[in-house]
């Protein structure tokens, strides 16, 4: 279970990007976060695995407080949080197998990592997962030889190799064509069910959010203003989430304050 309480993130001295945000993800649900650019979706996701440092508040994953971890403990916690990126973030010059196995870097010894001597069970699991998403035949191909959809499959398998307790996906389909994008969303939903894994997806495509996820969280300028089943997201709610601009919101806040 992921429990976020009173989370605040402020870059520099400006207005906070996340404003006292609360969110709880239970069980193995697939949750999508929607909202216009600059609403703080990406920052929220990155606060969870501490790619971004939260300013204040608490984030607990299965009882472990994540916000104050440092060094070895932080790395141990990150092993249990898988992440899929918009730009795939693969190492282009490494093979698909090496990219996939880099999800295990937190578990294996430095020596084994450098010599590429991966444990047998890791190799078996890699083949199983690659088979599952249809990229097993690319094991020895360099990552930059693959198409966008295939590359994102590598990204997903890399994250799953971590054997994570939760999967974060930051706009996983924004760089893909519509058809491939649906395939990846379907894959994320199916894998979440098969592996009993909660998945948190930032997404711009509201139609896909409605079709592939169990719950939709709508963010507007650092706050959650919608949190329901997809069926409840009607045109009125959509307008509430997407209308205006961060600039207008800021002025609104100023008026409230004065």
């Amino acid at each position: 279970m992921l429990e976020i309480k009173d989370l605040v993130k402020r870059y520099g001295g400006g207005d906070p990007v996340l404003k006292n945000l609360d969110l709880t993800i239970e069980g193995e649900s697939v949750v999508s976060i929607i909202g216009s650019s600059g609403a703080g979706k990406s920052t929220l996701l990155r606060c969870i695995n501490r790619l971004v440092e939260p300013t204040s508040g608490s984030i607990e994953l299965n009882g472990t407080e994540l916000t104050r971890l440092r060094g070895r403990n932080l790395r141990a916690a990150r092993r249990k949080i898988g992440m899929v990126f918009q730009g795939f973030n693969l190492v282009d010059r490494l093979t698909v197998m090496e990219n996939v196995q880099s999800g295990r870097l937190g578990y294996i010894s430095t020596w084994a990592a450098i010599l590429r001597r991966y444990p047998k069970e890791d190799i078996r699991r890699a083949y199983e997962l690659m088979e599952r998403v249809g990229i097993a035949h690319y094991a020895n191909t360099r990552a930059d030889q693959l198409s966008g959809g295939e590359r994102q499959r590598v990204g997903v398998v890399r994250a799953l190799m971590q054997n994570p307790d939760i999967l974060l996906a930051d706009e996983p389909t924004a760089s893909l064509d519509p058809k491939t994008s649906e395939q990846i969303m379907g894959l994320l939903r199916d894998l979440a069910g098969e592996l009993k894994l909660p998945v948190l997806i930032n997404i711009h495509n509201v139609a896909e959010a409605k079709e592939y996820t169990d719950r939709i969280v709508g963010m507007r300028y650092g706050r959650i203003i919608f949190d329901h089943k997809p069926a409840r997201l009607d045109q009125e709610e959509m307008d509430r989430i997407y209308s205006g601009s961060p600039h207008a919101d800021r002025n609104e806040n100023l008026r409230e304050a004065s």
Partner: protein, 269 residues
């Protein structure tokens, strides 16, 4: 139908205002004066300049026919020269790795190490190989060791600088992705940074080997080993036919080095 120029009465256009023209003319005049002044101050013996062509013809006449009696020795020392370059390049490549790591902003542990890295680079790069050689001949005595270390010292800065820049220019997104998996700093470097700088690494190493090959041919002039010693010996004793042989041998070596490094570049990259 009136054109824009007629409408606005603008028929004159010049790139520079008259004030700018005078400024540009003044700068040009200063440059000419500076060149004239430097020529007048370096005390050229013009008689020697005018008879240079006949001197050159004379020199070539004395060089011909080539004296190849010492060819075996020349080739052996030439091989020694290649070894100096290769050895020194190999060591320099190894030693420049930590320097590149320290001097790249995105890998260096802290500001102090960044400046340490940059200090090493600047020191190494601002001193010419020949100057380093003079220094090391004084320390290690004349011979190959001084030459190898001199070339190494100069190469560390060159390779470290280019490699450090390559590290700074990598795609940061894979680095972020691997940090998110809980991998240690070292493993992130090995998996996300090293593969990205590998092509630059090989290209720079080959380029430096090519440069070192040429630099090692003159090391002998200051007693730091290599073919330069024989060349200087031949010139000092007016043994022009042998000097010509040595020069041709060096030329052949440099061309060969160029061919080899071009071949390696094509194979590796």
């Amino acid at each position: 139908m009136t054109s824009i120029s007629e409408q606005f009465g603008r028929e004159d256009w010049s790139r520079f205002s008259s004030r700018q023209k005078w400024q540009r003319f003044a700068i040009f005049a200063i440059c000419v004066l500076a060149i004239a002044w430097s020529i007048s101050s370096i005390e050229v013996v013009w008689a020697w300049v005018w008879d240079a062509p006949s001197q050159m013809g004379d020199l070539f006449k004395r060089m011909y026919p080539l004296d190849t009696t010492n060819l075996a020795t020349i080739l052996r020392v030439l091989w020694e020269t290649v070894n100096i370059a290769t050895f020194a390049t190999a060591f320099a490549v190894l030693m420049s790795l930590p320097v590149a790591y320290l001097s790249a902003q995105n890998t260096t542990p802290n500001r102090a190490t960044l400046w340490l890295g940059r200090l090493i680079l600047v020191t190494s790069r601002s001193v010419n190989t020949i100057i380093w050689a003079l220094l090391f001949v004084a320390i290690f005595g004349p011979g190959v060791v001084a030459g190898i270390i001199a070339i190494m010292f100069r190469s560390i800065g060159f390779i470290g600088k280019l490699l450090g820049e390559a590290i700074e220019e990598i795609d940061k997104r894979p680095v972020e992705a691997l940090e998110a998996t809980g991998a240690s700093r070292f493993k992130v470097i090995a998996y996300a940074i090293v593969p990205q700088v590998m092509p630059t690494f090989w290209a720079v190493a080959i380029l430096r080997w090519d440069i070192n090959l040429r630099e090692s041919t003159v090391l002998g002039l200051v007693g730091a080993g290599g073919i330069g010693i024989i060349l200087q010996g031949a010139i000092d004793t007016f043994n022009w036919p042998e000097a010509a042989t040595v020069l041709l041998a060096i030329l052949a070596l440099v061309i060969l080095g160029e061919v080899v490094s071009a071949f390696l570049r094509r194979r590796i990259l």
